[in-house]
Symmetry: C2
Subunit: 338 residues, 2 copies
Amino acid sequence: MKTLLLNKDEVGRLISMKEVIAAVEEAFVAFSGGQVDQPDYIGIHLPPPRGEIDFKLGYYQANEVISMKASSGGFPDNPAAYGLPTNMGTILLFDGRTCALTCVMDGSLITGLRTGAAGAVSVKALARKNAKTVTSIGTGIQARLQIRAINEVMTIEEIHAWDNHPATLAQYKADIEREFGIPVVMAASKEGAVRRADILVTTTRGKGTLVEAGWVKPGTHIVAIGTDQQGKQELDPAIFRNAKIVNDSIAQCVTKGETWHPLNVRIITQEDIHGEIGEILAGKKPGRENDDEITIFDSTGMAIQDNTTASRIYRNALETGVGTFFEFFSQPAGRQHA
Amino acid sequence: MKTLLLNKDEVGRLISMKEVIAAVEEAFVAFSGGQVDQPDYIGIHLPPPRGEIDFKLGYYQANEVISMKASSGGFPDNPAAYGLPTNMGTILLFDGRTCALTCVMDGSLITGLRTGAAGAVSVKALARKNAKTVTSIGTGIQARLQIRAINEVMTIEEIHAWDNHPATLAQYKADIEREFGIPVVMAASKEGAVRRADILVTTTRGKGTLVEAGWVKPGTHIVAIGTDQQGKQELDPAIFRNAKIVNDSIAQCVTKGETWHPLNVRIITQEDIHGEIGEILAGKKPGRENDDEITIFDSTGMAIQDNTTASRIYRNALETGVGTFFEFFSQPAGRQHA
């Protein structure tokens, strides 16, 4: 049995952002259509200052792929003490028909890519067709990937960016303008940036309200990325009061997403959630219905996004002959011992 | 960062049964000593006739190794339709200090080896010092591995074996006599075989009482292997009434081991469990105290046994230069993107 090995450089070269967006759309439709088995993830918390390692498992029934992503994060001593990144990842793919291990690939790029793509998928489904400006609260790696992905699905005329570290903000402006040629305005205030947004993207590690309800103009589409566990928060819960609320997974968002906060303070009930993005993509529920409504996409991230993205990378590798095969066993079937 | 890849043949050559036994002893002591983090396992059940794939995670704090074993089983169509075994496995090892992926090895041998070794560890701790005969109820792969392991810790003079398939039983006799030179008596009845046991090993996929209480003579040590989930059973619950009951993990055995059955019918309460094998190995609790007591070791299997066994294989590979290194990424730390 041959298993394909893909290193990080190969993974990065094997997929375009357009393909990641298509893979994430497929993931959302499959999930909301009941074609996905995603058990709760398991993990180990290491003693401080170390972070954690999580294992996320997903089975996509329609294409018979089982994926397992091991991802570690929050190891501040790794670079200096060990010459290693603070975050690492590995993805295993198994053929669901046999459970043979078909692929082991570096997984450090995929979480960022599929999360960026999720924002773009929501922009296609929920932003105004005449949207021109994106406001980015947060200027880290995921903020850049959001721009990279959204830039594939619309023409961004201007970006208003805010960060509480001026040097980081200036670097973001320089990088985005060089890479995409989109002018970036370094916002003097969060409020000013939010008021200019057609699309508002939040990608911070926030632990409280960063965006107040009064700042959000009618017609804004909000891509809420940063909150994927209890204790994180970016939006004033009051923003949810009259907004069209869309989740990647309702089950996840109501327990650990941005959507948990307005539920917790009883600004909304679960019945006020419009639906899952996959239902909109499948045509089962409407997306944006007029130019005045505020739409919110709450992204918590799902194993099935890793699954469809990694599957596309694997298929592209086979088609283009990229990667290294390794035989974990060679014994003919029926002659196994022990 | 370099990751060591080990195929099945290499795994098989890299460790002796003596080393597996030592690794499993270490695992039991570490577990009962609170040095282990083993979250509940997660898995996917495939549609019939396919089986399942499980992911078992363990962190051994003292030696800073995190292990994840993916193991699939119950795919009857694999050999004919795909030329693959019905059961497969893969083990990942991570350095707990950084969460770097240090090793990917075939995992199809390790479950069998560490389960066999568990029986031998219990024989050292709980069987009579003058034990000579082993009775084997079940004659499959695990029954053979029990003999291979127990043969490392005592001199077996005779084996009484029972199986309800005469051809399987004859093959077991031929294989064991050839490999170990130990005479095997093909039992005419289960009762007769059990009555002759100094050590009774049960390794069936039984779903009811296979061994009756009246057959078990004083001084017998029972190695109960087959029951590792609800619905499986091998022993008459009445055997537990006056026996010294030892578990690998009390938490697991009382919910899905052989020990669940006498608890369920109230023949015993949890207070009647003598302790965990790791407590006995660590000298915190006595093992066998006289030649008349019946001792029962209930083995449900733990991720930490995979962890310490795979760690020993990995260390042996590094020391002897066996295996293939693969670089999943080569970028210097601090220059990671996305």
